[in-house]
């Protein structure tokens, strides 16, 4: 089996008295779509934010490409090649597609002048590479785009930086049928390009369509790791709602049998 591009070993995180994550193991292989499922409060977002470096894990280690790393912020994450597309997309409505794709990382010439032409070239290449052809113009302001187009722009923004791992938080949550189709196709194309993709979703139908494997979380613990082709949606639902937990909360020494 290939070496995981990202591996979390026994990571924990608590907020005050709330144990949000407890000794979670999680891994993604290159070229793989890994789905992360779980009910509300299962710790999906906490795990993602920990990986993104929004806050540090309390314990456990994170390995990227086999090497232990410590990520202290979005900059560190993107330097490693980890890009996260949040649910609310974080696009500036008043800026055009190119400006959004390069936001915070504008290319400059002579030290400070924005190199619009070069940025537009790359933006077009990336969008074309992902077969995003629904945009009329890359100079359109984002406010005028549909939900699917916005998601495409957000994903294209994430993959443009030679990223190796793209994490998508609920990418289809607010989309219609045709737009969901666009985004799922986009996810498949990312994996075809040998990127690792983590997709968080509540929609098992979508997950079964694109994911190679599924990690399910429950109450802050990893309960199951499925290979999509070997299980049914019922198995996953059962795991999400009633999966066997490895640890009894608050009693870490007494490991329950798994």
């Amino acid at each position: 089996m290939a070496e995981p591009i990202l591996e979390c070993r026994g990571v924990s995180k608590h907020f005050g008295a709330v144990q949000a994550l407890y000794k979670v193991d999680f891994e993604v292989l290159p070229g793989e779509v890994m789905a992360l499922v779980g009910d509300n409060g299962a710790g999906k977002s906490t795990l993602i934010k920990g990986i993104a470096g929004i806050y540090p894990f309390d314990e456990g280690e994170v390995l990227f490409e086999g090497k232990q790393v410590s990520i202290h912020g979005p900059k560190d994450a993107s330097n490693l090649g980890i890009e996260i597309v949040y649910q609310d997309l974080a696009l500036a409505d008043n800026l055009d597609v190119v400006a959004n794709m390069f936001l915070g990382r504008e290319r400059v010439q002579n030290g400070y002048i924005i190199n619009e032409a070069s940025m537009e070239n790359s933006a077009r290449e990336t969008l074309d590479g992902l077969s995003v052809t629904t945009l009329q113009s890359v100079r359109q302001v984002v406010a005028g785009l549909s939900g699917g187009q916005r998601q495409s722009v957000a994903v294209a923004k994430a993959v443009m930086w030679n990223s190796k791992l793209v994490i998508l938080d609920e990418p289809t949550a607010a989309l219609g049928v045709a737009q969901t189709r666009q985004v799922l196709d986009l996810v498949k194309r990312l994996a075809e390009q040998d990127l690792a993709v983590v997709i968080i979703s509540h929609n098992l139908h979508d997950i079964f369509e694109v994911a190679d494997r599924i990690t399910s979380l429950r109450l802050g613990q990893t309960v199951d790791l499925f290979t999509t082709s070997e299980v049914t949606q019922q198995d996953v639902v059962h795991s999400i709602t009633a999966g066997r937990m490895k640890f009894v909360p608050g009693m870490e020494q007494e490991e329950a049998t798994t």
Partner: protein
């Protein structure tokens, strides 16, 4: 990114191709579609300006005189100068209500430092110190807004009162009559000198040539990279239009006393700050923070630093405006920075098309808005109406501008342009 792993044949066909207008008529069609969708750009303000000029022109033929034209330029220059700073602050969806008294602080401090023998500093030093202080005041406001998280409305309101007090204290301390005259001729010349005809032409045509050069360079670069360009005809019309306006203005001013020197100051800052806003990373970040602060933060932009820098720009331009005003009056007085100045400069930025909700507006809107305010003010002065009527009319113009903006926004929301 590698595009070569793609196999488009296998993918479901997804709707239409990208297309951009390639000839003049297509460009106008696309523009008209945008206008109908409520993306008006500078259209309403230019129409408004023409209407205002026609109304006052028919009421009084002196309105079109060469003398009045240069007067108009002199009157609106300080508004436009300060409004540039306001545009930046509004781009962040913040407000700076202290901007008028900050400008007065700049004018008063410069004047005090210039008093002969006491201390009688040379004008560049006096101006430099004054601008340093107004910029620092902006920085302090920015720091409080960002670090303490207090709304800029309240912070700047407090500074508005406080700086009003500072102006009064300084004037009472250093002047018995309530006014201090500016002795330095160079400073008096800022708002009172006119360029010799030849220099008016050189600077005016030089500016047109510089813009043309920059546009041609941009066109050529995009051509080299195979990116779509706007049609040559459109580019020609835009540059031609600019040339006609500049040549017309210089010629008309030259038939009177010449181009006021203050227009060089204003022109420099308009070009400089337009460049900063439109072509630099900092400018891009200002728009991003105004449009979606959370997106900006996640993109690794230091939102606080951008905000503080923008309040500093506001303070700096207020200082420049204060110096321009002091120079025009050749003195400062206890009432410096008071009266309708604050509302006029904020109105100028808003009438020029800068949104109060952040993220949308151009530096040039400071000039257009100030021209409207100046044109109304000037026309009313010729009509000899009292200042009450003047305020009412200016208020109505502002209301009309805001309403036009609101209707445009609604159109845009309905048609999905923004």
């Amino acid at each position: 990114m590698t595009a070569d792993t793609q196999s488009p044949e296998e993918l479901p066909p997804i709707s239409r191709e990208r297309k951009e207008p390639t000839n003049v008529s297509e460009y106008f069609q696309a523009w008209w579609v945008k206008v109908q969708a409520g993306d008006l750009g500078f259209l309403p303000i230019i129409i408004g300006l023409v209407v205002i000029i026609l109304i006052f022109g028919t009421l009084d033929s002196r309105y079109f005189s060469e003398r009045n034209f240069t007067n108009l330029l002199l009157q609106m220059a300080p508004f436009a100068t300060i409004a540039i700073g306001v545009v930046f602050v509004l781009l962040l969806a913040e407000i700076d209500l202290a901007i008028a008294f900050n400008s007065a602080v700049g004018g008063v401090i410069m004047t005090l430092l210039l008093r002969p023998d006491d201390p009688g500093w040379p004008w560049p030093v006096a101006i430099g110190v004054a601008l340093l202080i107004t910029t620092a005041i902006g920085a302090v406001m920015g720091l409080i807004v960002t670090k303490a998280g207090v709304p800029s409305f309240v912070v700047s309101l407090a500074f508005n009162l406080g700086l009003n007090g500072v102006v009064l204290i300084l004037m009472i301390e250093f002047s018995s009559s309530g006014t201090i005259r500016i002795a330095d001729q160079t400073v008096r010349d800022i708002s009172n000198a006119f360029l010799p005809d030849a220099w008016g032409w050189i600077l005016g045509l030089g500016a047109v040539a510089a813009v043309t050069g920059a546009e041609i360079l941009k066109y050529w670069t995009r051509q080299q990279r195979g990116l779509p360009n706007k049609p040559v005809g459109i580019l020609g019309m835009q540059l031609g239009g600019l040339a006609v306006i500049v040549v017309g203005a210089v010629w008309y001013a030259n038939t009177d006393r010449g181009v006021p020197f203050v227009m060089v100051v204003l022109g420099f800052f308009l070009v400089f700050w337009s460049f900063i806003a439109g072509r630099t990373r900092f400018g891009r970040h200002v728009y991003a923070v105004g449009g979606n602060p959370e997106a900006a933060r996640r993109a690794g932009i230091n939102v606080d630093r951008v905000k503080i820098a923008v309040f500093m720009i506001g303070g700096f331009m207020a200082g420049v405006g204060g110096i321009v005003i002091a120079s025009r009056l050749q003195s400062v007085a206890t009432n410096s920075g008071g009266g309708p100045l604050l509302l006029n400069v904020i109105a100028a930025a808003v009438i020029g098309g800068t949104s109060l909700f952040g993220g949308s507006g151009k530096v040039a809107s400071a000039l257009l808005g100030a021209l409207v305010i100046g044109a109304v003010d000037n026309g009313m002065n010729l009509q000899n109406v009292n200042s009450g009527v003047k305020f009412v009319v200016t208020g109505l113009v502002l209301l009309a501008a805001v309403l036009a903006d609101a209707f445009a926004k609604r159109r845009q929301a309905a048609s999905g342009v923004r």
